[in-house]
């Protein structure tokens, strides 16, 4: 059975289509990523799967249950860590977990055991009696991840789990997420707009833009679409003969000379640099500078949408779009 199966999922907010007919399936035990810029519809997708928003059209099964039909059964099967903190700051860490486990109907002994267990997992045992208001951002996040686990969900949703955290905390959270997925076998769906995060964590990634999926595959296969690494050589002297010679090699996929920079696409670029420099010398051109670029999901995004993800985020119209999305989300 698939952990998630969505077909033709649509969400519209007063005529604005936030999620536009997406279909996908997530296997049990998979770590699945939704990658895209702000306002791409990632959170809206998760909110529909978590029964917080009703889909305008389409169907979705979570743990085999239809999200529109039996919302309570879906709610029992899932855990969710929201983008913005959803903790009660006046309560202590333990009280927040206590609240959660009671809402999920766990018995007293079971509650104690599991709360101690998850607190240890996220290393908050000694902060358990401190009011959450006094926690740092990273501690809050860890507590929320712990909370999402106390009722042993089959599927865990993480909405931008490391947004706004420092590099060290982010690394920590990545480790927890991996551990959970591999050791405890929890199916995890996470959204992110950090390329490295999706690349590092996810078994498969769906790239989302303007409410649609533009690509869906494993990170390595997505990067393979680009044909491999790019080695750029800055040359001195007439490079046309060299370019033609290199272009005839069977392991070179593309050779492009732009002014005095020759860009070559190949696999395992780091193993070819020495050979290329030698060939250049044989053709009477000097190499002033060598640059090796490994393709990232960033390049994949660029390849599919024609825009870099960061630039899009910073553009004023996109920022407005993201803000409108944010307000809509709050209003809904």
């Amino acid at each position: 059975m698939d952990a998630i199966r969505a077909e033709g999922l649509v969400k519209m907010f007063d005529g604005f289509t936030a999620v536009d007919r997406i279909s996908f399936a997530v296997e049990e035990g998979e770590l699945f990523g939704l990658l895209g810029p702000n306002g791409a519809g990632k959170t809206t997708t998760i909110n529909m799967l978590a029964t917080l928003l009703r889909p305008t059209a389409g169907t979705a099964l979570v743990a085999g249950v239809d999200v529109a039909r039996d919302r309570d059964a879906v709610r029992r099967a899932i855990g969710i860590v929201f983008q913005e903190p959803a903790l009660d700051g006046r309560l202590t860490g333990r009280e927040n977990l206590e609240f959660h486990t009671m809402m999920y109907g766990l018995g007293k002994a079971e509650r104690r055991r599991r709360i101690d267990e998850v607190l240890a997992l996220v290393e908050l045992t000694d902060k358990a009696s401190t009011p959450v208001d006094k926690y740092s951002g990273g501690m809050k996040r860890r507590l929320e991840i712990a909370r999402g686990l106390t009722h042993r969900p089959k599927v865990l949703f993480l909405d931008e789990p490391t947004l706004g955290l420092d590099a060290q905390t982010r690394r920590h959270i990545w480790d927890y997420v991996r551990k959970l997925n591999k050791d405890a076998g929890v199916t995890i769906i996470l959204t992110t707009h950090y390329m490295e995060e999706a690349d590092f964590l996810c078994d498969r990634v769906a790239i989302m833009d303007h409410g649609r999926f533009v690509a869906l595959d494993t990170p390595s296969r997505l990067k393979d679409i680009l044909g491999g690494d790019v080695v750029s050589l800055e040359l001195e002297g007439d490079a046309t003969a060299f370019r033609d010679a290199v272009g005839r090699l069977d392991w070179i996929k593309r050779a492009k000379l732009h002014e005095d920079v020759l860009s070559l696409t190949m696999e395992k670029g780091e193993r070819r640099i020495a050979e290329l420099v030698m060939m250049a010398q044989q053709h009477g051109v000097a190499v002033a500078c060598v640059n090796l670029h490994k393709p990232s999901l960033e390049d994949v995004f660029l390849h599919f949408t024609g825009r870099p993800i960061r630039e899009q985020e910073a553009g004023p119209s996109e920022r407005n779009r993201a803000m409108i999305m944010h307000q809509r989300r709050r209003a809904a």
Binding site: L52, L53, D72, D88, R90, E98, H100, G105, R330, A331
Partner: protein, 255 residues
């Protein structure tokens, strides 16, 4: 729809923990009713109040009014606490729980009623210190009944507003244009007989009018309407507002 008792209990318990921890909030919300009681009660001490027999004086008239006011403010705030939870994100945690929406509403009402009853009882105690005398312990169960009904009514009203408002911005408007008129129209401070008929007509659609009048009836033995009429009206309002509040909360899309 199923009722999840543990969920109701834990929502109630959370409210209690928050109430006890927010000491400044407790004192802050008690200050205004105590000032009203002290300054109006002492200032108008020698003023005869039409319709108040038994030499109870203005404090006898005022104290039930201020108890009603305390219930009005704290209950509608409690109803609106949904908005706070929305603002601080905690509402999402509540909304994804596998618990019937009815249980969520009942949990809120349980927590809200308890805290506003505590507030009202503290004010009741303060009024005794300031010279208020009531008819004796036999009146207390009836007074508590009226207090619970007032509480239910305005928690229900608070839920209706909270379910349809997006954020805290509309909060001040609701306070100024809805909650305060309820207070002034109820006759908590002044006898209704002195109002022009237009205002008096409005007073009779204000639930708090019956609550305050009923409290006065059971505590001091003097009321403008028969206590049973007050009780019936108050019971009706409480029922209607609870159903409306629950309905609005359940049908709001939540997050």
């Amino acid at each position: 729809m199923r009722i999840h008792w543990t969920a109701i209990y834990v929502l109630w318990k959370r409210e209690m923990i928050r109430y006890v921890r927010a000491k400044s909030r407790i004192f802050g919300s008690l200050a205004m009713p105590i000032f009203f009681l002290a300054f109006l009660g002492l200032g108008f001490r020698r003023m005869p109040v039409p319709g108040m027999g038994g030499g109870a004086g203005y404090i006898g008239f005022l104290a039930p009014g201020i108890i009603g006011m305390t219930l009005l403010f704290s209950s509608s705030m409690q109803g609106m606490s949904v908005l706070w939870d929305k603002e601080f994100g905690f509402l999402k945690e509540i909304m994804v729980a596998p618990v019937s929406r009815l249980s969520l509403v009942l949990g809120r009402i349980a927590g809200g009623t308890t805290t506003s009853m505590l507030q009202a009882l503290l004010i009741f105690g303060a009024s005794l210190v300031l010279g208020f005398r009531f008819r004796g312990p036999a009146a207390l169960p009836f007074a508590l009944l009226f207090m619970v009904l007032i509480s239910f009514t305005f928690i229900g009203l608070g839920l209706v507003f909270a379910s349809r408002m997006k954020d805290m911005q509309g909060f001040g408007i609701v306070m100024n244009f809805i909650i305060f008129p309820f207070f002034f129209l109820s006759g908590a401070l002044t006898p209704l007989e002195n109002f022009p008929w237009v205002i008096r007509a409005l007073s009779y659609v204000d639930p708090l009018t019956y609550g305050v009048d009923g409290l006065r009836g059971v505590l001091t033995g003097t009321s403008a309407l028969p206590v049973l009429v007050d009780l019936a009206a108050m019971g009706g309002f409480a029922l209607i507002m609870l159903v409306l509040g629950a309905y609005f909360f359940e049908t709001s899309e939540g997050v």
